[in-house]
Symmetry: C2
Subunit: 506 residues, 2 copies
């Protein structure tokens, strides 16, 4: 009986493996699209990606696949059908079932229409952003929201239609739960930002100057090496927006952006994308093709990047080691900077208009704003034409700044034009998760500051491997986080971190 279960499991795994190979190919040609593709190939590349995604969808919803799946689990109820599966295998079967149910819930016609709409919307958004003309994008956004509502109905939900959308990016997260986490955060952040705003800003002039791009690239590689990023299974390239892209644990690539006049943009990109990439490299390749070699969620993925970018890369111990090599590499305005001044400069908090340029404190309010608007748009309590006013009002309320144009307001992000409602919250969840995970990390490495200050960083990856990477999708986000820390998930760890950090700095 046990052998039978394993046999069926292997059959399903084999089918899924083929689909994963093609998803990997798709990631790879998307990576190429952003790095080395000649501009003239844009249109054929879109067609290649679409052809692949059609084949992948067919493979994941084929009769063969559902037959194999139904030998292990009852598809309508989601109850395991067979005895003899091990615990991780049971979790994998549930994850397969979850994905399959989502794939089949959306009719092909709906998916095609949505793809067509968002590809047109993307062009309209680019144009609207350039011309600062929200009204030319509005009709597209209106249809995108309608289709997202329809999507929510097709996928189903218990409490709130936004739950269904959220669940596509952060499985099992609910609107009410995210609301709770975000409310705690907002209540804490708003006064904190006011308090920081009253302080004299730190000098950060030495972070700007002339920093040779090739030396920046070299320094980025040095940092990647120190955190355990393996260049035999990855690459560092340039692209206009930094990203990470993995087609397999043996091929997990990242990109960065180099400003010849600014130092931190590359360094934080390298740590951020490096954190994402270590997760993908650390997933157990032996389970490739199954959910046991997949990331849990976007939120957990983001927690891995923020762990390295903020909790490590913005920490004093990290720079107590790396400031000297940095000075040696770049000289110039950096030479006379003390560790303390450097630390203060890179941790400067300043409310601003653009999300992707925000510091680790204000960043979350940019996300909360988007979450609140998205929820209202999906509920229907906010109309598309009222977005600019609502956006600006919330910016004032949360951050005390007002965009002068929609370009630096509600038109700044690509996500809505891509149809991705429910995506934004995962960015702030990533911060909450990263700090929650850090509780466990600190418990196991009470001397982490001494270790990091010695330049020995490999123990971080090792800890994350033991508590995150190696499990794939065996646990839900919450289970994983609570298992790693023995603490119930809340915003507390993140709040405490920021609170202590900025108390010390004032």
């Amino acid at each position: 009986m046990e052998n039978q279960a394993k046999k069926y499991y292997d059959e399903l795994h084999k089918l899924s493996y083929q689909a994963h190979l093609l998803s990997g190919v798709s990631s790879l040609i998307s990576w190429d699209q952003e790095t080395y593709m000649p501009e003239g190939a844009a249109s054929i590349r879109a067609e290649q990606l679409q052809a692949l995604s059609g084949i992948i969808h067919d493979a994941k919803t084929s009769k063969k696949f559902s037959t194999a799946l139904s030998k292990l689990i009852d598809i309508p109820t989601g109850k395991i059908n067979i005895k003899g599966l091990k615990k991780p295998e049971v979790a994998a079967v549930h994850a397969w079932h979850r994905d399959y149910s989502k794939e089949v819930a959306l009719p092909k016609k709906f998916v095609e229409e949505f793809t067509k709409l968002t590809s047109e919307a993307l062009i309209a958004w680019c144009h609207a952003r350039k011309e600062d003309s929200f009204h030319t994008f509005a009709p597209y956004l209106d249809r995108i929201i309608s289709m997202n509502r329809e999507k929510a109905e097709l996928l189903g939900y218990k409490e709130h239609p936004y739950d269904a959308l959220l669940d596509c990016f952060e499985p099992n997260a609910t609107t009410s739960e995210v609301d709770r986490l975000f409310t705690d955060l907002k209540n804490f952040l708003t006064p904190l930002i006011k308090k920081i705003g009253a302080l004299k800003p730190a000098d950060s002039s030495f972070l700007f100057g002339k920093f040779s791009p090739s030396k920046q690239m070299e320094f980025g590689k040095k940092i990647l090496d120190s955190i355990g990023y393996d260049m035999r299974r990855g690459r560092l390239d340039l692209s206009s927006h930094p990203f990470s892209s993995a087609s397999h644990p043996t091929d997990s690539r990242i990109t960065t952006r180099i400003h010849p006049n600014s130092l931190m943009s590359n360094l934080s990109a390298v740590l951020h994308e490096g954190g994402h990439a270590l997760y993908e490299m650390g997933l157990p390749a032996i389970h490739y093709g199954s959910p046991l070699c997949e990331a849990v969620s976007l939120g957990i993925h983001e927690s891995q990047s923020r762990f390295f970018e903020t909790r490590i890369g913005l920490s004093k111990p990290f720079w107590s080691y790396f400031l000297n090599p940095l000075k040696k590499t770049f000289k110039g305005p950096l030479e006379n900077v003390s560790l303390d001044s450097f630390y203060k400069a890179i941790n400067q908090v300043k409310p601003s208009l653009i999300r992707i340029e925000a510091d680790e404190v204000t960043y979350n309010l940019h996300i909360i704003l988007r979450f609140e608007l998205e929820k209202a748009l999906i509920e229907g309590s906010l109309k598309v034409r009222d977005i600019p006013d609502a956006w600006n009002a919330k910016m004032r309320e949360l951050l005390g700044v007002t965009p002068k144009t929609n370009r630096e307001g509600c038109l700044q992000d690509i996500h809505w034009s891509m149809g991705a409602f429910g995506y934004f919250p995962t960015y702030a969840l990533g911060n909450i998760y990263a700090s929650h995970l850090f509780l466990g990390f600190q418990q196991d490495h009470p001397d982490w500051e001494t270790k990091v200050a010695s330049g020995n960083l490999l123990f971080i990856k090792k800890w994350l491997n033991e508590h995150v990477y190696k499990y794939g999708r065996q646990f839900s986000s919450k289970e994983l986080l609570e298992k790693a820390t023995k603490h119930k998930l809340s915003s507390t760890a993140f709040i405490d971190y920021l609170s202590n950090k900025y108390k010390k700095m004032s």
Copy 2:
């Protein structure tokens, strides 16, 4: 009735288009494999390529495809079924039929076994070459030859089993015809090489020295620009062996190899691969997905690369323009070289052991050697164990040199380990075709030397576009060559070219 034909044609084109998109993806990830792929990804990349090739094979042999095809052509007899197709469309249908018949002639089991064998053979060849141990590779080669014989039987042929193999790379070419072309060539080349060998070798010391890799790369791009290579639809990168790879006319990439101590390797690679790439860029994108947007054959492809590499790039007019910029870029030992000395140095003829390092005269004898051995191996008149002796004897006979090891003899090329019997002849056919085409080019541009010497090279691409690129697979190699030149195909043009060139130099 006419509309009906067009409707069926469009149906077939649409199915074929999907398969082409995936072939393009496959080219792209192969390109990545040779340029930017992290070494650790080798194994998953092989699996990705295999998965794609399976899907492409399935698409090309699907019931849907054969049904669509059979509405236009009778599959068993290859007779067009329907009225109303235009001439190029009729040619396309024949090409589709030809490809389909080949795809289905080889049973899936055979293809899988062959793939497995050659992937093992490739490893065995690498090892054997490294250790100079022909006997460890011999058993693999033996099985590869048996399977190639079986392949010939499965594909069918009229006169000689080698015809069937040749036909996979050079459609419609026959062993007897190639034999005729090669015999003429051999009879001419053997005495020519002896004659040249008796001359005092030209000084070529200035081609060796220190040549900055970045400047070499820059100069390569300048040359590519001058011949009309469009960087918005291509790229130049580095790889261990130069190659060209196109996934669509808007994405036709090339690579080169830079020796910091030697000048010509990069320049000839850039012209050679640039010639291949211009062909792919010039194919009519409007017919993409059909044979009307495909290259005629490997021989015609090679003729396009050799046209630029040898007929243009080794000509005096070309260097009468480019020698000055070359001197300005690199200075050093080049500065005092006259055009005449430079021309003689780059056209030096010297029998040597390694094919890929051979000059344009001796190169063809390397190919003829391989053709004669392949034919004998397929016939069974030569046994695998006797290859090293036969190889060395033929090297002495044709080129007057003897390899000291099999590594610089019969183990030097990768092709046999990949199972590619019938491939080598296309290299020499490429030379014959290039010179034959040049007849037509000269007729239309009697002043080509003046034009080239002025640095204006775009008219070359324009001519090739009118006579080669724009037709796709509308004509066979021979038809295309004879149409472009109004001369019957023979080795004469190539022989005359070499004969005149080296008469002048002696």
